[in-house]
């Protein structure tokens, strides 16, 4: 091995892998003359530091994201919590909606109407698996309403569907419609104008 390593300078420089010639010397002279760093100056600094900056930015984004996520999960972030609370208020659960409907029946003056709604509610809304809140901002005669829709799985109305529009604040049933598979109306109910008007006035 010693034999091979003899005259290593001659052997390695023979490969011309790297050189220091007049071009490099001139660059040194020019740099010193201009009192500036070697070639490319600013560009070189950017090239050297850009990967580090990029990594810091990515790390910052990741840490911020993780922090934000943790804050939301732990409920530390008050604004988000409030938003969530508001959202919960705006979107009542089916149980809450059912309770509201039941309570609103007392405000219906007409006994006939009240019984019709009670029968509908008890027949089709007690099983929460059979219906869902379809639209929290449905339009009902130019008023905001909650639209709930479901299916009827038993009795005469088997394989039929229903839709019910509710007053958002009170849960008062404004109208419901039962349709068969062909979408023909089997039963329809509309709350009297007076009761609806009274409900809107109370708001």
């Amino acid at each position: 091995m010693d034999e091979k390593l003899k005259n290593l300078r001659v052997r390695m420089t023979d490969t011309k892998a790297v050189t220091f010639d007049h071009r490099h010397k001139n660059r040194v002279r020019t740099s010193l003359k201009n009192n500036a760093p070697t070639k490319q100056g600013f560009l070189k600094v950017i090239q050297e530091r850009f990967p580090a900056f990029l990594t810091y930015i990515v790390l910052l984004v990741m840490l911020s994201g993780t922090g934000l996520f943790a804050s939301i999960e732990m409920g530390i972030l008050s604004h988000e919590s409030k938003t969530a609370e508001m959202k919960q208020q705006v979107t009542p659960s089916k149980e809450e909606l059912y309770t509201n409907i039941s309570q609103s029946l007392e405000s219906i003056d007409s006994e006939n109407d009240r019984e019709q709604v009670r029968a509908f509610t008890e027949s089709y809304l007690t099983n929460f698996d059979n219906w869902r809140i379809s639209d929290m901002n449905a339009d009902y005669k130019n008023h905001n309403a909650i639209l709930a829709q479901g299916r009827i799985t038993e009795g005469f109305f088997d394989k039929t569907t229903f839709s019910i529009w509710l007053e958002p604040d009170t849960g008062l049933p404004l109208e419901f419609v039962i349709r068969n598979q062909e979408s023909s109306v089997l039963e329809e109910f509309q709350l009297s104008r007076d009761t609806v008007a009274k409900s809107y006035k109370q708001k």
């Binding site: 390593l5 290593l8 023979d14 790297v18 490099h24 040194v28 010193l32 990967p51």
Partner: protein, 178 residues
């Protein structure tokens, strides 16, 4: 050559900085760029480092201790500069990215050498550059710069026995490559 050049330079007027610069670039330019290349294994970086080293030498010539060898001073600056680069975050990041890239491309992660000259010399150069850095530097200083064990010991601030051990192991490793 090594012994002579590693002794103090008495025939240079250190007050004439431009003259010193021309002298050291002419006499040690090759040594500096090759030392940098042996550390970094990157032609462009080695050439950049060499230029930076001579700028540092020019600007810090006042701090040069005249009792030491000018060549030793220049090479020490080069070695320190290269070690700084190797330790730098950006360099390690680039090396990591390159090795990752080569893994995806199923290529050898060793640098892409563009060598000319005798095939035997090319192979020797490649093999030396494949050595771990602590073996590579002693081989380079001993066989390329013709430094004696004691000089290498002073240069690297390690014990002479460590230099001898590293040289022996480096030769064994090189032999195994053939």
């Amino acid at each position: 050559m090594g012994k002579r050049e590693f002794t103090a330079h008495t025939d240079i007027d250190l007050t004439n900085k431009d003259a010193v610069l021309e002298t050291i670039m002419g006499e040690y330019g090759e040594s500096v760029v090759w030392l940098a290349y042996s550390y970094l294994k990157d032609k462009a970086k080695a050439e950049d480092i060499a230029q930076e080293v001579f700028i540092i030498c020019y600007t810090k010539l006042d701090s040069f201790n005249n009792e030491a060898s000018l060549k030793s001073w220049v090479l020490t600056i080069t070695a320190n500069k290269c070690k700084d680069v190797l330790k730098s975050w950006s360099h390690r990041n680039i090396v990591f990215a390159q090795s990752l890239l080569s893994t995806f491309k199923h290529q050898d992660s060793s640098p892409d050498f563009q060598l000319v000259g005798l095939e035997e010399n090319q192979e020797l150069t490649k093999n030396i550059l494949k050595l771990p850095i602590k073996y590579r530097e002693v081989i380079f200083l001993h066989y390329f710069e013709d430094l004696k064990v004691q000089e290498i010991s002073d240069f690297l601030s390690i014990k002479e026995n460590s230099v001898k051990t590293r040289l022996r192991r480096a030769r064994i490793l090189l032999k195994e490559m053939y």
